[in-house]
């Protein structure tokens, strides 16, 4: 979705070449979403639409505060609301800003068959380069967070860019800029992790014993992290995965079988060629035609025996 400079990639989809590695000083960036400070105002959602010029079609009311009902090609971030009853029987209103997590090990990028349609920048942002996208939907299968959505209009895949265009010119993402409570922060991953540590300590001192940072190691960590009051049970936040990682099915499909398949095709062709060299073509010999003629003549000859010569 953005302009890019080729020297800023650390991963490029569907390519066997090594990405440029000369820029190695750049800090990894991260967005920190402090769920415990979120008031569910959806300013981030509005800011995302505003900055990226996205307007989803008006849907229907589904009985919750979620609007629209799900992520779509025009909705790259979505507030998800859960009414959670805790052990004491008290209601907790859990609000999570859903969207791309910008995994360090991105399943979408691993699954993508189109060269350069998905890239990972040195700062950690995973971005879709739409002109290279072929609309196959493999990224949807690769993603452990169920984030990418394929447009039924232009058949391209869309998701949060982490405002890579803004970050490239030293601005924070639009959602961060809009958040009125400071629940969304942006900075180097180290700074965000440190800040989250302080925040988690604070929450623990205030009775949230299981407060913690959500930076799942199964995908090598993410460049969008959550501070959760109940980090031991992330699934209560609208099915945030407990231990996300790239599916073993996808790993196998995009791993071993690719070289093995090509090698087996080559082996089959070489075997055929070697057979041709060793045994040669199987050609009909004059004796075969003569034997066949004898049988046809035997059949056509007027004689009483129904037996065919063998």
């Amino acid at each position: 979705m953005t302009n890019y400079q080729s020297q800023n990639f650390i991963r490029i989809s569907a390519t066997t070449m090594t990405p440029p590695a000369t820029r190695n000083h750049e800090a990894e960036m991260a967005k920190l979403i402090d769920v415990t400070r979120c008031i569910g105002c959806k300013a981030c959602q509005a800011a995302c639409m505003e900055w990226n010029n996205l307007r989803s079609t008006v849907g229907t009311f589904n009985g919750t505060l979620e609007n629209p009902a799900d992520l779509d090609p025009h909705t790259w971030t979505l507030m998800r609301f859960t009414e959670h009853e805790n052990d004491k029987g008290d209601l907790e209103w859990l609000i999570r800003k859903d969207g791309c997590m910008h995994c360090e090990d991105p399943g979408c990028l691993k699954a993508c068959p189109a060269p350069g349609a998905i890239v990972q920048y040195e700062n950690g942002i995973v971005d879709f380069v739409s002109e290279n996208c072929i609309g196959c939907g493999f990224c949807v299968k690769g993603c452990p967070f169920n984030i990418p959505r394929i447009s039924q209009v232009d058949h391209k895949s869309y998701k949060c860019t982490l405002c890579s265009d803004r970050v490239a010119v030293n601005l924070e993402p639009a959602c961060v800029k809009a958040c009125p409570t400071g629940a969304i922060l942006f900075g180097s991953k180290q700074n965000m992790t440190d800040w989250a540590g302080e925040r988690v300590e604070d929450l623990k001192s205030r009775g949230f014993a299981n407060a913690g940072l959500y930076d799942p190691p199964g995908v090598g960590g993410t460049h969008v992290m959550y501070v959760l009051h109940h980090a031991d049970t992330p699934s209560i936040y609208s099915d945030l995965p407990e231990n996300p990682k790239i599916s073993a099915t996808v790993e196998f499909w995009k791993g071993l079988i690719k070289p093995v398949a090509l090698a087996s095709f080559a082996a089959a062709v070489v075997t055929g060629f070697m057979h041709w060299v060793i045994a040669g073509p199987n050609e009909v010999q004059p004796e075969d035609e003569e034997a066949a003629d004898r049988i046809i003549e035997g059949k056509n000859a007027p004689k009483s025996s129904p037996e065919l010569p063998t």
Partner: protein, 224 residues
Amino acid sequence: MTRPLGTLIRNDTATRINHWITALCFVLLVISGLSMFHPVLYWLSAFFGSGQWARQSHPWIGVVLLLSYSGLIIQFWRDNLWNMDDVRWMMAIRRVLANDEEGVPEVARFNAGQKFVFWSMAVLVPVLFITGLIIWEYYFGTWTSIPTQRAALLIHSLCAIAAILVWIVHVYAAIWVRGSMRAMTQGYVTPGWAWRHHRKWFRSLVATGSSGPRPNDVRREAGE
């Protein structure tokens, strides 16, 4: 098609057209499919104009292939039924590969290798079709769960790899056994070819006075 006097019909016109529609579809599917399978083969999508076009065309060609191969199944299944002679033929495969078919069990219309190709594709094509529908993003992207689609993608890829290997065997056999190619392009074989490779088939045609492709099929000889 006119054929030389005394030759036998191996594949009639409808069969040959059906076969070549299937073959064209298969080749196009291999090209577009491999372009989406391995990055080093992405350039194959250029045959379709772009990656988008390859992705868009692939499932539709698959639909045509399913219909086309169904036609081949209807025409060929009877002559591909497995029997004990096929087991004996397989036991003697070394002699077959050495171009020495004397002493190998006599073969009817199809030998065990051809039956293997036929039944492999008869299984693989429907599996490829069903798994292909599941991952056909444009129409069925939201019909099944993502884990189901992941499994379908893997099965689709594995079946495609198997089908390509079977296809390589099929193509090489057609090159290796001289006269087979003409049997599928012009449709006829010489009696000597039938005697050498499909003796039981040959005997059944002679016994019923048939010119092929099946016993009791009676056609007038060209010029008769």
